[in-house]
Amino acid sequence: MKSLKAIVIILFVILMAPGRAAAGGPFGSPQPVGKEAGGIHTGIGYWFHEDNYKNGTERVTRQNQVYSELGYGSRKGWEITVRVGMSDLKLIDAFSSTASTATSKTDFEEHGKFFSTLGAKGFYPFNQTFGMGAFIQGSYYFSDFTDNLSGTQSGAPFSVEVRVKNLWDVNFGMGFQATVPYGIKIYIGPYVHYSELKVSPSKDVVGAAFASGETTMKNKNVFGGFTGIEVPLAKGFRLNLEGQYTERLSAGAAVLYVY
C-alpha cells in the first residue's frame, strides 16, 4: 500500500505542476488494446488539441483531428500503432495588427491536411487489476498549412501567403492502469512532449507578425499529464476517452475494434 500511495502522490505532483503542453492524439491505455493472445485492432477517433508555441511571442494552436488507426499487439504486452488522419490548424492571433500594420484577419487557419502517427507501448501487469506501461508516440504532417493574409502596412496594401510547415511532435511517458469490473480500464500518467513547426511567409512584410522571414516555434512546456478510460462495448468494440491536461485541455474519443 505504501508504494501505491507514493505512486499516487508522484502522479498528483506531476499532473498539477504548472506549465504543461498538450500532445497530438491520445496515448490510449497502457495495456495493449488487442486480445491477450495478441492480434490486431483498428479504430477511428476524434481529437481536439490545443498547444502553446513560442518563439519570442507565444501563440496558441488549435486542431481538430480525425483519424483511423491500426495496431498490432503481442501477448507479451507490447503494441505498435499507426494512425492516419486529417487535421485543421488554427494559429490564434497569428496576424494581430500592430501600430503600423493593419491586417484583414487575426487568425491563421486551414483545413484538411494529412498527418500520420506512429506509436509503441509496453505493459507490465502487477496483478489482475493494476499495471503500468511506457509509450512513445510521434506525429508528422505530410503537407503544409497555408493561409493568405492581406492588409496595409504604413498605408500601403500588401498580400502575403503564410505557410506553416514541418509540424511534428514526439511524446513519451508512462501510464498506470486499473482494470475495474466489466473490463473497464482507467489510466493516468505523466508524459514528456516536444513539438515544432515552422512559419514561413511568401514575402516579408515589415511589422506584421509571422510575415517577416521563417520562424521556428516550439511548444512552450514539455511536461504533461493524461488520463483516460477504455470501456468495452458490444461485439468487440471498445470506447476510449482520453484527456490531456495542460494550460489548455486536449481531449478526444475513439472507437476501437479488436480482432
Binding site: T42, I44, S68, L70, K235, G236, V255, Y257, Y259
Partner: protein, 299 residues
C-alpha cells in the same frame, strides 16, 4: 461513360471473367461458376454429360439397392428441377469457351501465379476485401431494387464497419463471429431475374465468360455502379479492374482446373452449372423464377 471503353482493352482481357459477379470472389471465365464439381455433375443433363465411372461412388449405389435388387433413386434428387438453357449459339459459344480457356491458361494463370509468389496471401486477401468493399454500391442498390431492405441495411452496415474499422476495407471485421453481417451477393442480373425476366439463351462472351441476354444487361447496369469505372483516364479504371482480377485469380488457382478435369464436356458442365448457379442466386431471396428457367431436360 468511360467504362464502356474498358471491355475493349487487352488488359481487361484477363481482367474480366464473370459477367455477373461484382464479387471479387468470382474469377475469370473459367471459374465463373462457383458450385463445386460434384454439384455441377448433379445438375448437368445426364444425356449430355454421362457420369464419370471413375468418380461414381460404388458404395452409394449399393447402399441404395432395395431388397428386390432395384436401384432406388433418392427422392430429393428425382424431384430436383434440372434447369436448362437454350443454346442456339453453341458453335460460337464453344469457340469462345476455348478462347477464354486459352486466355486463362496462357495469360491470366501465369500472371496470377507470378503475382502470388511475390505477394503474401494475407495481403492478397486484404486486396480482395478492399475491392469487395468497393463494390458495395452494386450490392446495396440491387438489394433495394429487390425490396430486400434487410439485406440493404446489412450491406450499409458492412460498408461502414469495414471502411472505418477495416482500414478502408482491407480487413473484413463485419464478417467476424461477433458482428456477423454477411455479404449480400446481389447484382443487376439477379434483380432482373427477381422481376421475372428469364435468362433467355446462353451466350459465352469472349473475356466476360458465360452469360445470357438478361445477365448481359445486368452487367451493363453493374458497370454504372462500379466506382472504378469512373476513374480517369480510362486505362486507370481498366488497370484497376485487371489488377482486381489477377489478385482474385491468384487466390483461386486450381478451382477451374478441378471443374474442367472432372467434366466429360467442360463446356456443357460450365454452361449447366452457370444456369443452375444463377437460378439459385435469383431464387435465394424469394424472387420469382421464370418458368422457362425451370424447364426439365429433354430425355
Amino acid at each position: 461513360m468511360k467504362f464502356f471503353s474498358f471491355p475493349v482493352l487487352p488488359f481487361v482481357f484477363f481482367a474480366v471473367g464473370c459477367a455477373h459477379s461484382p464479387d471479387p470472389a468470382a474469377t475469370l471465365a473459367p471459374p465463373l461458376v462457383s458450385p463445386p464439381t460434384r454439384q455441377v455433375l448433379i445438375v448437368s443433363d445426364p444425356v449430355q454429360i454421362p457420369p464419370n465411372p471413375a468418380e461414381m461412388p460404388v458404395q452409394s449405389e449399393t447402399r441404395n439397392v432395395d431388397e428386390y435388387g432395384d436401384i432406388e433413386v433418392p427422392e430429393k434428387v428425382s424431384r430436383e428441377a434440372k434447369p436448362e438453357i437454350a443454346d442456339p449459339l453453341e458453335p460460337f459459344n464453344r469457340a469462345m469457351y476455348h478462347f477464354n480457356d486459352k486466355l486463362y491458361f496462357w495469360l491470366l494463370k501465369p500472371v496470377a501465379q507470378g503475382y502470388g509468389k511475390v505477394v503474401p496471401e494475407a495481403a492478397r486477401v486484404g486486396v480482395s476485401n478492399f475491392f469487395a468493399n468497393l463494390a458495395f454500391p452494386i450490392r446495396f442498390v440491387n438489394c433495394l431494387l429487390q425490396a430486400n431492405f434487410e439485406g440493404a441495411a446489412a450491406e450499409l452496415g458492412r460498408f461502414t464497419i469495414n471502411t472505418l474499422w477495416g482500414v478502408g476495407g482491407f480487413l473484413d471485421p463485419a464478417s467476424s463471429k461477433d458482428i456477423h453481417l454477411s455479404k449480400q451477393d446481389e447484382d443487376f442480373g439477379q434483380t432482373l431475374g427477381a422481376y421475372g425476366i428469364g435468362q433467355g439463351f446462353f451466350i459465352n462472351w469472349p473475356l466476360f465468360g458465360p452469360s445470357s441476354p438478361r445477365d448481359t444487361v445486368g452487367l451493363v447496369g453493374d458497370g454504372f455502379l462500379t466506382p472504378y469505372s469512373y476513374l480517369s483516364p480510362w486505362y486507370a479504371g481498366a488497370g484497376t479492374r485487371g489488377y482486381d482480377m489477377v489478385n482474385d485469380t491468384s487466390l483461386k488457382i486450381g478451382d477451374y482446373e478441378s471443374l474442367k478435369g472432372a467434366a466429360i464436356d467442360p463446356y456443357v458442365a460450365i454452361r449447366d452449372a452457370y444456369v443452375q448457379y444463377r437460378l439459385k442466386k435469383v431464387n435465394r431471396k424469394g424472387g420469382n423464377t421464370p418458368a422457362e428457367d425451370l424447364e426439365l431436360p429433354k430425355k
